[in-house]
Amino acid sequence: MTIWQLALIIGSLLAATLAFIWLAVRMSYGPTKKKQDASDIEKAAEEDVEHIFNDDFREELRNRGRLHFEKIISENAMFLQQDLRLTTSQLNEYMKNEITRNLQEEFAKYEQSINDAKQLAVDSIQKTNSAIDEQRQLLGQEVQKQILAEKQQLVERFEQNMTDIVNHYVLAAIGDQIDLNDQLEYILADLEANREAIIQDIMHGA
């Protein structure tokens, strides 16, 4: 590489750097000028607006706006009143419907609860009745068994004490009419029947 070539390259680089710097400076000074122009235009427009929209015109506009606003307000108030009435009636209707619906639902629930309670009570009564019937049947069987046992005991006792009963009956019926003299033959017959035993006991007794 020759020195010329080296100088050419360095010269190119310097030229490119200078071009870049110039471009940067150029770009930084451009908008400020535009802003200043726009500001001038705005100031001119404001002056024109101030000239056109003066205080009288503004007062007239304000009056007209107030009237228009009042008109709009009154119209809106009317609309609002109508809407309010409509809303009130709708609300009443809605409330009525809601209350009716709620009441119907509550009544339905209440009726359902009553029906459930009624069914529960009926089931309970039926169970109680069945239990009572069962208990009554068992009690009846037990009572019948006890009565049978009692009757059986009475009959057995009657048969066991039959002789005493008949003896008591005979004594109560004809006891006063039995004379010992009439029994003499019977007594002697009994003594005769037991004679040997009596003799044995008297002869060999202590």
């Binding site: 009959v155 005979v170 003299n181 019977y186 009994d190 003594l191 037991n194 004679r195 008297i202 007794g205």
Partner: protein, 185 residues
């Protein structure tokens, strides 16, 4: 006359121990009276008039062929009666009512004829007997009452109770009638 043997004959009017005791006391009293009369008057035994004695004692003397005017007869009889009071067999006879003397005499006659000639009978009263009697000896109890007769004939009594009454059906066994009652058609 002396007592015929060592076994005197008791009249049926002497039923029990009480009558025998009364007879002994009367004989002792007679002995005392006759002895005192003999000592007081000095008369012979056959010369002393016999005082009035009870019918029972008269019967005893008559049945045993004893002349109570003589002291040795009275002493012998008294000894025999006291021996009887100690050793005679005894029985207790109960009736439903108080028996009359004639009735008891018949019973005692039978007992002394068929059981023992010196049997002494104590009479008791058991209204529950109804009919018949109850004899209690030394070791035994002979129930000859109506209740005992009923108890001996219990099966017959039950059979008669279950027999059908004319015009009615037979009475069933009460137990069977209760256990398996028949439903009338």
């Amino acid at each position: 006359m002396a007592p015929s043997s060592s076994a005197p004959v008791l009249p049926v009017s002497v039923i029990g121990l009480v009558d025998l005791g009364r007879l002994i006391r009367e004989l002792e009293q007679l002995e005392n009276t006759m002895s005192s009369e003999h000592l007081r008057t000095g008369k012979e035994e056959d010369a002393i008039t016999l005082p009035k004695i009870s019918t029972t004692l008269e019967q005893v003397a008559e049945l045993n062929h004893v002349d109570l005017a003589y002291q040795h007869n009275r002493q012998s009889m008294l000894t025999l009666l006291k021996q009887l009071h100690k050793e005679a067999p005894r029985a207790h006879l109960s009736f439903s009512a108080d028996p009359q003397p004639q009735f008891m005499m018949k019973v005692v006659t039978w007992l002394r004829t068929n059981i023992h000639p010196h049997l002494l009978v104590a009479v008791g009263l058991q209204p529950g007997i109804g009919a018949g009697c109850v004899l209690r000896t030394t070791n035994h109890f002979f129930d000859m009452s109506l209740g005992s007769r009923f108890a001996g004939s219990r099966e017959l009594l039950m059979k008669r109770l279950r027999e059908p009454v004319p015009g009615q059906s037979a009475v069933p066994d009460p137990l069977q009638a209760i256990i398996s009652p028949e439903v009338p058609a």
